[in-house]
Amino acid sequence: MKSACMLFILAAGLTLSSCKGKDNSNNTATNADTAQLNTDTSTAVTTAPQTISDDSLRAQLKDATKDYPDVTATVDNGEVTLTGTITRDKLQGLMQSVQALNPKKVNNNLTIK
């Protein structure tokens, strides 16, 4: 009887610890998701500027500048530099797209036609 009890306790302990493990991994997943959300709505949660890697900033800039073929966007240490040419009526849209990615800074070196 005693050993059955011990077994039960042991089994319960194991189950608990495995549960704990699962919870932890769940938490990690949630954190990863949250982290992604932060780049997303940086607005709501983090205080700008958040730490977005240059690589992901570059990838996002590709979409953000797609409608502006004469504009080149380069990234260095979280700062975006825009070069090339644009018409004034398109400038606001471009700047909105770029600043929505929440870079540390945007250097507008564009020539306005």
Binding site: A44, T47, Q92, Q96, A100, N102, K104, K105, N108
Partner: protein
């Protein structure tokens, strides 16, 4: 503080026009203003004030990240300048186009994929990803 003074009108306009979760912070001589605009008109008003204070956005001392956040289940209006909005198979401009939503068309937001893309469905039944900047809550 100097930057907050420079962009005072912008911050006040944001406060007075229903921008939620407004945050203003200064780092390395750049002012970051973030928040959720209730609609595209408010966002454009803020950008017009920004352009008035810093013509053509040359100073590089402000990052204005106040956007109209659409959420799952919402209806949203297509706020392109004049053109149709591309609907794509996946979230990326390298993804094939499956259809278009007209300028000013109302679409259904199924989910928000990331800070750039949303999954939407048109009333005609076309479903796919669009660039969220061109959506405004209705």
């Amino acid at each position: 503080m100097a930057l907050q003074d420079k962009y005072k009108e912008l911050i006040e306009t944001a406060k007075n026009s229903g921008v939620r979760n407004l945050q203003v912070s200064e780092q390395n001589n750049v002012l970051h203003v973030t928040g959720d605009a209730p609609n595209a008109q408010v966002k454009d008003t803020l950008w017009n004030v920004y352009n008035k204070i810093d013509p053509d956005y040359r100073a590089g001392d402000l990052v204005l990240n106040v956007n109209t956040n659409v959420a799952a289940g919402m209806k949203a209006k297509v706020v392109t300048e004049t053109t149709n909005l591309n609907i794509r198979i996946g979230p990326g401009t390298d993804q094939p186009i499956v259809g278009k939503a007209a300028h000013n068309e109302i679409v259904n937001v199924i989910s928000k994929t990331n800070n750039q893309w949303s999954l939407i469905r048109t009333d005609k039944g076309t479903e796919g990803y669009v660039y969220s900047q061109y959506l405004s809550p209705v």
